[in-house]
């Protein structure tokens, strides 16, 4: 048998084995395991989905939020796509060797411009891989903590070997005049130049050796691919294509077979969530921006996903093997993911937004919280808050009859929207209604509304907590009850627009309430006032000469994209707005969201609000830390004290500036 025939046979066998392993793993993971998950709602809006594929996979849009690693990945990705064609050529060449050792695929092996681009990309990939290795081995940033470093390094080495062997092989072929497209490969030509002095026979052996290395590592890579984080190469495309297109502020609910919400085991998740798990590349961007990770360190969204993925694999295998104990008896909420980790999430959306591949973290966290709530496993303070919400409709445990007490003595009197039609129905919210530190701000808001000539009213004692954070704390039944009561109260009122004080309220009213297609206009007060200033209905008589920084509330900014209105208002009032390093969609959460405000904070480490205040305190000349969320006032006023910045920074609600400037 000739060498070429043997080569064909070996290539064919290797291909079969590698493909076999690949298909076996991929089938097991993407078909057998995923099918055990719950059904996902139907996917629609395919135009938008395909657009996303182009932007987020093709253009790698979100990756550039971390610039250099983003660029490196861009080249690796495109290099991979382009060079997979050379791999095809190499395989075809091997398979056909018995008939024609110089076999070339049409176009792929014959089109010069393609060869030219490939040649350069091979170099770019080598450089990018070099940067990747440098990142992993030398820099080793915090975000990689907990990732599979060896796996990463191994695969980087694989790719590097594939690239180098390709370049050397091509270079030698050019030297040996075996490459029809040699003139299109300047890089390979350069590398070939290194071997020019060697006898042709030696070059030929090295060339053949490179071929085997190239192909061998490709096959190894193929078997490695579905087993670890590099499975994202396969799953990222469906993951981005089938990403959640609902508004960010709308939490999905999976009801299990017995009608209750809550995930207690892996198979209770939707298969779509499972796909997310396989797609995680362990890049740690989510971890890098996570307020919980950066304060208590008790939660890392990345580790959460990795732990879930491991459980999915292990449980999947155990179920397939019809085991009955072992990993199957491990509790999802407790042993796989710590309860503390689940409760530490502030639902700030920084992680979800940062993930280049649209993996959702908050959704599974809340699904698991729902189960913990069903089991009654929660912080005592949260338990009290929920009990209060159920009984009085507010978390502070105060009488619902006292909800509008803050209006007493206000002139003109605040209208009762239940009794007379109003243009603006003001949904005040718990903290703004009850908290002694905040009612003053609330009264100022009423004063501003009056001075702007708004025809507005409130629901008085018919208003209940909107339930935004109740839902995110995992108490779905209570959320439904609160929503029902609010909808009932709202249904009896005549109004055109709902305006809210609290961004959390704003979010759930806008995105989650069951309006049945009749959703009224819903505005945050900063949006409303911004519009009034623009239309000239609200005029400022004073120019305040304050230098301030503005903190974007998560549920106003990241969740609902309101970034400019508050800033325009501040500027209109004469303030100079200085931005913190993290602002806009990168704003760092105060730590109150998702029900965290009702839970005990474990002292002993920096709290998110303190980290944020230190960030603001580092800005020169800024006297005011401006917020637009009542929870922020509570959180940051405390943090200013505990960080010793009382004399340095004043925490103020935006409305205070508006009121002063009128």
């Amino acid at each position: 048998m000739s060498y070429d025939t043997i080569k064909s046979i070996i290539v064919a066998l290797a291909l079969l084995v590698a493909l076999g392993i690949f298909v076996r793993y991929a089938w097991q993971r993407l078909w057998v395991y995923l099918r055990r998950g719950q059904t996902s709602p139907k996917f629609s809006d395919w135009g938008e989905r395909i657009k996303g594929l182009i932007v987020f996979v093709g253009a790698q849009w979100r990756l550039f939020r971390f610039r250099l690693p983003g660029i490196a990945h861009f080249f690796i990705f495109w290099g991979f796509l382009l060079l997979s064609l050379t791999i095809l050529q190499a395989i075809a060449e091997g398979l056909m060797a018995f008939a024609n050792p110089q076999f070339v695929l049409p176009v792929i092996g014959t089109w010069g411009p393609l060869a030219f681009v490939q040649d350069f990309f091979a170099l770019f990939v080598v450089i990018a891989i070099g940067y990747g290795l440098y990142l992993r081995l030398i820099v080793n940033p915090e975000r990689y903590k907990g990732s599979h470093r060896n796996q990463g390094v191994k695969v980087l080495t694989f790719i590097l070997t594939i690239m180098l062997s390709l370049l050397v092989m091509n270079g030698l072929r050019i030297n040996l005049n075996e490459d029809l497209l040699g003139r299109y490969r300047p890089i390979s030509t350069l590398i070939g130049g290194l071997f020019v002095g060697l006898p042709e026979a030696t070059q030929s052996i090295i060339e053949e050796l490179c071929y085997w290395i190239h192909l061998g590592v490709v096959m190894l890579f193929l078997t490695e691919l579905p087993q670890g984080k590099h499975f994202h190469i396969v799953t990222s495309i469906p993951n981005v294509l089938l990403r959640n297109l609902e508004p960010r502020g709308r939490l999905p609910v999976t009801k299990t077979s017995d009608g209750a919400a809550g995930v207690s085991k892996m198979e209770d998740f939707r298969w779509r969530t499972m796909l997310d798990l396989y797609t995680c590349t362990e890049c740690g961007r989510c971890q890098d921006v996570c307020p919980a990770y950066n304060s208590s360190g008790l939660l890392s969204p990345k580790l959460l996903v990795m732990n879930l993925r491991r459980n999915l694999q292990e449980r999947g295998a155990a179920l397939s093997a019809k085991q009955t104990n072992g990993v199957l008896s491990k509790s999802l909420t407790g042993e796989i993911v710590g309860e503390e980790a689940l409760w530490n999430c502030t639902t700030c959306y920084a992680c979800d937004q940062e993930c280049p591949l649209f993996i959702e973290h908050i959704n599974p966290i809340v699904e698991m919280r729902r189960y913990l709530v069903l089991e009654g496993k929660m912080d005592k303070m949260l338990q009290d808050a929920l009990a209060n919400l159920g009984r009085y409709g507010n978390s502070l445990g105060q009488s619902d009859r006292m909800r509008a007490k803050w209006t007493q003595g206000l002139q003109p009197a605040v209208k009762d929207a239940r009794r007379e039609p109003v243009e603006y129905l003001w949904f005040v919210g718990d903290y703004a209604s009850y908290s002694p530190t905040l009612t003053d701000v609330t009264r100022k808001t009423a004063e501003v509304f009056s001075k702007a000539g708004l025809n507005f009213g409130i629901l008085f004692d018919a208003e209940r907590n909107s339930g935004n954070d109740v839902r995110r704390a995992g108490e779905e039944g209570l959320f439904e009850m609160l929503m029902g009561k609010n909808m009932q109260a709202l249904g009896k009122c005549k109004y055109e627009t709902i305006v809210t004080t609290d961004p959390h309220t704003y979010n759930t009213l806008k995105n989650e309430y069951a309006w049945d297609g009749n959703r009224p206009r819903i505005l945050h007060y900063t949006e409303l006032l911004d519009q009034l200033v623009a239309s000239g209905q609200l005029k400022f008589s004073k120019k305040l000469a304050a230098k301030v920084t503005y903190h974007d509330p998560c549920y106003l900014g990241r969740y609902n994209g309101v970034y400019d209105a508050p800033r325009r208002l501040l500027r209109a009032a004469g303030c100079e707005v200085v931005e913190m390093p993290r602002h806009g969609d990168r704003a760092f959460c105060c730590g109150a969201g998702g029900g965290r405000i009702w839970m005990e904070e474990k002292p002993g480490h920096a709290r998110p609000a303190e980290i944020r205040i230190r960030e603001a305190a580092a800005l020169t000349g800024v006297q005011s830390f401006v917020v637009a969320c009542p929870k922020d006032v509570t959180m940051f006023k405390d943090a200013v004290k505990t960080t010793g910045n009382e004399s340095r920074l004043q925490v103020q609600d935006l409305i205070e500036f508006v009121q002063e400037a009128i």
Binding site: G259, A260, G376, A387, Q398, S399, E476
Partner: protein
């Protein structure tokens, strides 16, 4: 073991309380009633005993606003039977009347152990537990924070000031006044209560002729003057310290 937990509803102190026109009772028109917090602990303790060693738990409450919800809540925690006493107003019965009504019922169902809140903030004639024990001829131990079942008896951990615990062995059947369960009453998710309310039935039991004798007769009720601002104690450190010691003594903490 059969455990019975009689519970009662009390005025919610979150609301402002007012005196009615008679001047001798609370104005009930604005009253919001909630479960007596000690009774909530008694339920929790009963459930804990059931979880540890098995028991059949019956919860009993006089009818009233919100009572069904609390009964379903208890069922969601693990209570087996729910009984509502009809024909009475939970807020109106004094402890003596309540204890008599309950005693009649317990003579029928013969529980081994009765757990009830050690007191309620509106008891003016003592707590139900001690009276009930006497009417049933059972022993009574109050201020209990933790119960362990033994054979034919229970070990009740009675709390004394300063954190001292007296371990009492109490022969069954017995009544215990619960100060605190071994763990705070658990939270029950709304969806669970909804589910239970569809499957569990509340047994209704009519009661007649209330006998309130033995209770205190209130001639007048009034609100104490609210203390507006702290009374500032003037003087030298020594004088102030003297006065403070006096205050501590008056309040019985020394």
């Amino acid at each position: 073991m059969k455990i019975a937990v009689p519970i009662k509803f009390v005025p919610d102190l979150v609301e402002e309380l007012n005196i009615d026109s008679s001047g001798a009772a609370l104005d009930t028109s604005w009253l919001r009633l909630i479960i007596n917090e000690f009774d909530d602990h008694a339920i929790e303790q009963a459930i804990l005993l059931k979880e540890r060693g098995g028991a059949e738990v019956t919860i009993i409450c006089a009818e009233g606003d919100g009572v069904d919800d609390i009964l379903f809540n208890a069922a969601a925690k693990g209570a087996d039977q729910l009984v509502k006493l009809m024909g009475s107003d939970a807020a109106m019965m004094n402890s003596h009347a309540t204890a008599r009504v309950l005693a009649d019922f317990f003579k029928e169902i013969q529980p081994d152990l009765i757990l009830t809140g050690v007191q309620a903030h509106n008891d003016l004639d003592g707590s139900v537990g001690a009276l009930l024990a006497e009417y049933l001829g059972m022993p009574y131990v109050g201020y209990v924070a933790g119960v362990t079942a033994a054979s034919g008896s229970v070990i009740a951990r009675k709390e004394y000031p300063g954190g001292i615990i007296g371990e009492m062995e109490v022969k069954l059947p017995a009544v215990l006044g619960i100060q605190a369960a071994e763990q705070p009453p658990r939270y029950v998710a709304y969806s669970k209560i909804n589910q239970v309310s569809k499957t569990v039935k509340i047994e209704e039991r009519a009661i007649s002729d209330l006998d309130s004798s033995g209770g205190a007769t209130v001639g007048r009720m009034f609100k104490p003057e609210p203390a507006q601002r702290a009374e500032i104690i003037e003087g030298s450190p020594e004088e102030v310290a003297d006065r403070m010691v006096g205050i501590f003594k008056e309040l019985g903490v020394m």
